[in-house]
Symmetry: C2
Subunit: 253 residues, 2 copies
């Protein structure tokens, strides 16, 4: 049965954050990323609510197709519902789940906090880094790229489905934190001199302007990565990864 016009319209509308929020749904497209999220599904934080796929995809992924009650669509229909000029063979729809941040949550384990990181690719890469280093959670300020933006999900390479990520008023939650709040900054203590920390928050700012004034006030220690050459700065994701690696070198698991 072909998709109705209203159905196509609804799926296409999920490109916009406004419509995603209204409907409480988000879209993921692409064989690789859908497979990654299905594979990460043991945590079952992000169920796919709907799945649209070509006959070929259905044939190659019988379990997923069956489990999700997938809708078979033609390549022409896929072109119409896809958010990309060149559609893939599968489009999944998930339910937006906003994880609440419990009071005191930052006081246990390692948290990566993103302050105004607006580039969706960077946010996705940061989720992947938090996942690699086994951080306990990621907290995003409300002016970061939307967690349910396809580019974020793609760049996270499946980590989106594994790392608990929360959106919160960053300065407010950091002000309550009892653990060290390490700010990645251009001026600060050498990251190689850090002591072992099992509970801490690592905060990175936006590419252009660094940490916001309100968040800066909550930083208990500025850390910096020693520079040996001419570049003015490091990408936020690269800086965060280096700080995580230094912490893990000291504390291990």
């Amino acid at each position: 049965m072909p998709l109705s016009k209203a159905e196509i319209q609804r799926l296409r509308s999920l490109r916009d954050k406004k419509h995603r929020e209204e409907l409480g749904l988000f879209v993921v497209e692409g064989e690789k990323v859908v497979a990654e999220i299905l594979a990460a599904g043991s945590a079952q934080k992000f169920f796919f609510a709907e799945l649209y796929a070509t006959r070929l995809w259905m044939k190659e992924n019988p379990k997923a197709a069956d489990y999700l009650g997938a809708t078979e669509v033609t390549v022409e229909e896929m072109v119409r519902i896809s958010h990309f000029p060149t559609p893939s063979s599968v489009l999944a729809v998930g339910t937006i789940t906003r994880l609440p941040l419990a009071p005191g949550a930052l006081d246990l384990g390692l948290t990566l906090a993103l302050d105004g990181v607006q580039d969706a690719g960077n946010v996705g890469t940061l989720l992947r880094i938090a996942d690699w280093f086994g951080l306990d959670r990621v907290v995003l300020s409300p002016d970061c790229a939307d967690l349910f933006h396809q580019k974020v999900i793609h760049a996270s390479m499946g980590s989106f489905a594994r790392v608990p990520a929360h959106t919160a008023d960053l300065a407010a939650v950091l002000a309550q934190a009892k653990v060290p709040v390490l700010g990645c900054e251009l001026e600060g203590d050498d990251v190689h001199g850090l002591a072992a920390l099992r509970d801490a928050v690592i905060v990175v700012g936006s590419e252009g302007s660094g940490l916001s004034a309100a968040v800066k006030k909550c930083v208990t220690r500025s850390v910096t990565i020693p520079r040996f050459g001419g570049a003015e700065s490091l990408n936020a994701a690269v800086a965060a990864a280096i700080v995580c690696d230094n912490l893990r070198r000291l504390t291990g698991r």
Copy 2:
């Protein structure tokens, strides 16, 4: 005097690698990146041969405009010559300079080698990382993104004009190297256990497929970044940065 049709055609053609190579020229657009490259100009590796700018840019950058004999263009002309849908106020043309790699060059200092890194943004970020850590050079295999692609230059944030970068048959030059060749891989020795190395090559592979078979044969030591969570891999630029940071922690300047 308005730009001729042929002139506009020539500038537009520099989008394609084929035409860049034919004419030996490349294009850089954008106030920020042009300013960064002008500021990095003390090294004078990449002279701008031509510069096109709006009256406003000329007024705000009198020295550069004068020095380069800049051509004032209207906003309409800028729209026509720009490689982007939304043009900026300045477009510079540089001369492609291919730096030869002297025999034995890899045996002194630290080299970052890129094996088939096809994403232009990643190549630019890797140049920026090599610059930050004061590496002596970057060597790219011929199947990497073109060094003179605008996206590479943009992502490098000016490091393009500071770090000596060479394109070479990577396996051939690595086979001649007398220094340790460290391969960033998923299986290898813990990067935290590296000994201090003042002369070495760090090799990173492509996002999708890692190091090529020919390059792998030249690796004298595989190094890996300890993983604590669920992500399958780290981005090539992130991995390279962490290895550089660990080497610099041990050797300093």
